[in-house]
């Protein structure tokens, strides 16, 4: 549109031509074939068959299985973690502080011994 010319100044005939061109373009787009038109299945899950309810039910079953597998995995990992967290592990050297017990006389044997056994005990 030339500078200074507004839409109101365009002659009626010119407007009609523009409108006809736009209409033709829109109709042309609607009728043009799309690659997506060829896709009829649900994609990754294989062919989609059955009505909507059946498909949803199938998806729910799949989801439940995924959930169960994930939960089983997490439960196993958690158990392993708890085991490590709640028990002293064999093969590790732990520096238990025995000085208070030694000073209190709760000790048996030579202070020169090369092996020290810390006993965790209960009187029952």
């Amino acid at each position: 549109m030339p500078p200074g010319e507004s839409l109101c100044n365009i002659p009626t005939m010119k407007l009609a031509w523009i409108a006809a061109a736009l209409l033709a373009t829109t109709l042309g787009c609607e009728k043009a074939p799309s690659k997506l038109d060829k896709i009829t299945s649900s994609g990754a899950g294989g062919a989609a068959s059955g009505d909507l309810e059946a498909r949803v039910a199938r998806l729910e079953r799949k989801l439940a299985k995924v959930d169960k597998d994930a939960l089983d995995f997490l439960a196993a990992a958690y158990e392993q973690r708890v085991e490590q967290e709640t028990k002293a592990q064999p093969g590790v050297v732990y520096g238990v502080d025995i000085q208070p017990d030694v000073q209190a006389g709760q000790v048996e044997g030579s202070p020169e011994a090369l092996v020290t056994i810390v006993e965790a005990w209960d009187f029952a």
Binding site: D101, A104, T116, I117, V118
Partner: protein, 153 residues
Amino acid sequence: MVVHPQQVAQAHLAACAAAKQGKFVDFYNGWWDKAYKEYQDKRDPSFLSEDSVYRVAGEAGIDVARLKNDMPSCQQFVQADEEELRKFKVNGTPAFFINGEFIGGGIPKEAFKQYIDKKLQIAQSSGVSGAEYYEKEIRGKGEKMVTRRPRQQ
């Protein structure tokens, strides 16, 4: 070191108080032989009672009046023992640390001996004297655990 003193709290306090008289081992052995064994054999809980504690102490040659006097002050010590073991995740008895290596539960005598021999061999080859070995090699180099604070909600 005591894990769960609740069941026989008085006996644990008495063991600590007996140690103040240099009689820890006498009380410890006396308790197992004359109190706990009787309790097990006869299924009579009175053998684990406070009276039984004093009887065992008396028979072990411990000054019972002094023992009774010292027992309340042992509460803190017993709790500190519990805390220390909790840091190392010891939650059952018997349990042992042989030169710092954890053994949970009772194991055959021969297996126990093997652990000791193995640790003795390591200690002998370290060149560190017996008087220093535990503090320097085990306490000094071993895993030191801290009590984990509960998570904030």
